[in-house]
């Protein structure tokens, strides 16, 4: 039950994009059409779901003082995390290219972008700061990936529609996307009333 709570909390209440502004760059850059937004969202769920447990294993068994090496190596955290993320993205890219060329063709350009998606590194850092256990980190990874997916698909759908509206010239495009994201953020904020602990009871 605790795992479901973490998933819901990460996806809705503490949404990576709308509550913490993480992953904003690719969120704004790739949300012009619904199809690409959908593909990027799926890729982010996948990468977050994989890197989070791997980074958990690294922090627990390699970097902490009670780990295998017996030395406190937490200062190496950033470098190792980002190396894991970059290599995972590279791996995912190669696997998708080999087994699903269709998906690769539609995602192609956006896959490398995930490396510098702050939501991925941010997720790992939050996981360390909140001291999750291994199953919790899997659930948190999938939950925050799903939250990113929801947010990017929603904004892409709105942006496709708003193209036909009469927005003032200087506000068109990027400016409107910011204000829409703010409104969506306020919408998601109303979910903060949910007490994730109460769902289990």
């Amino acid at each position: 039950m605790e795992l479901i709570n973490i998933f819901i909390k990460a996806a809705f209440i503490e949404n990576m994009v709308l509550a913490y502004f993480l992953g904003m760059c690719s969120y704004l850059a790739v949300s012009k059409t619904l199809d690409t937004a959908f593909g990027l969202g799926l890729a982010v769920i996948f990468v977050l779901g994989i890197t989070m447990p791997i980074n958990w294993l690294i922090t627990t068994f390699l970097l902490s003082e009670s780990g295998l090496l017996g030395i406190d190596l937490t200062f190496l955290r950033f470098i190792l995390f980002i190396a894991v993320i970059a290599s995972m993205v590279q791996l995912v890219e190669m696997v998708i290219e080999k087994y699903s060329p269709g998906l690769y063709a539609s995602l192609g350009i956006f896959l490398p972008l995930i490396t510098v998606n702050c939501a991925i590194l941010g997720g790992s850092l939050f996981m360390v700061a909140r001291e999750y256990t291994f199953p919790e980190s899997v659930s948190f990874g999938l939950g925050s990936g799903f939250g990113f997916f929801l947010a990017i698909v929603a904004i892409a759908a709105i942006r496709e529609k708003i193209r036909y509206s009469n927005v003032p010239g200087p506000l068109r495009g990027l400016g409107m996307a910011f204000i829409l994201t703010g409104l969506m953020g306020i919408g998601f904020m109303s979910l903060m009333g949910i007490d994730p602990g109460a769902i289990g009871n």
Partner: protein
């Protein structure tokens, strides 16, 4: 938007070949015409959550200027020996090294600010402007222009950060850099009679919420593009 006369440092301006017209453009362009946040849409990720107050925004700006200047410099120095296939990882390692330096020194110098910024210092690594400028500029240009390009872009980024933080702190908590300007701050809640000149303003809690940063930036983009009309999105 930001005043451009603070940019040119008089010391380097005198040495002619080192600080010519091109170098000045590298520094000044990102502040207006090519602003990382309002035009290039890069580096929004790690920035917005720390703009509720001015002082963390200033610290963040200094950290980004340092990281970006030196990351551009080092990448540019190494640009002939980096193989194309693994350049992402090498760039990330350079950035991660610099960010670790910043993190450890901030921890030593100012612990309260370090705690306030928490994961966001680490997130400078994935700040897209840094990667973007490394990829677009430092991999193809000489070290000194690259360094200036990094510093210029970081200043353009910091300018937006500080403007947003200014409005959010002023209207959200009625203070600036932690100094109580107006509004009933916590210490004035009881005795409003004696401090009537401070208590006329009710802080707007919306400005403290994360969503307001997006509104402020959206409106900034609106003003910026209305004033600099060549940036208007025609599509």
């Amino acid at each position: 938007m930001a005043d451009s006369n603070t940019v040119a440092t008089p010391k380097t301006a005198e040495s002619k070949p080192l600080f010519g017209k091109r170098e000045r453009r590298l520094l000044v362009d990102p502040i207006n015409d090519n602003n990382p946040i309002t035009v290039q849409v890069l580096g929004i990720c790690s920035a917005l959550a720390i703009t509720t107050q001015v002082s963390p925004a200033v610290v963040m700006t200094i950290a980004v200027i340092f990281v970006m200047g030196f990351a551009n410099l080092f990448t540019s120095l190494l640009r002939h020996s980096i193989p194309k296939q693994v350049r992402m990882i090498i760039m990330l390692i350079i950035i991660a090294f610099l960010v670790t330096v910043v993190e450890l020194s901030l921890k030593a110098i100012n612990y309260p600010i370090y705690q306030e910024l928490s994961v966001f210092i680490g997130l400078i690594i994935t700040n897209c402007i840094i990667m973007g400028r490394l990829e677009a500029f430092a991999m193809a240009d000489k070290p000194w222009p690259s360094f200036l390009d990094g510093v210029g872009n970081a200043m353009g980024y910091g300018a937006i950060l500080i403007i947003v933080a200014f409005f959010r702190e002023l209207f959200g908590s009625g203070s600036l850099m932690g100094w109580e300007l107006f509004g009933p701050g916590p210490q004035f809640m009881i005795n409003t009679e004696a401090h009537w000149w401070l208590s006329w303003y009710m802080p707007n809690n919306l400005m403290v919420l994360s969503a307001s940063a997006l509104f402020v930036i959206g409106i900034l983009i609106w003003i910026h593009r209305a004033w600099n009309r060549k940036l208007i999105d025609v599509s």
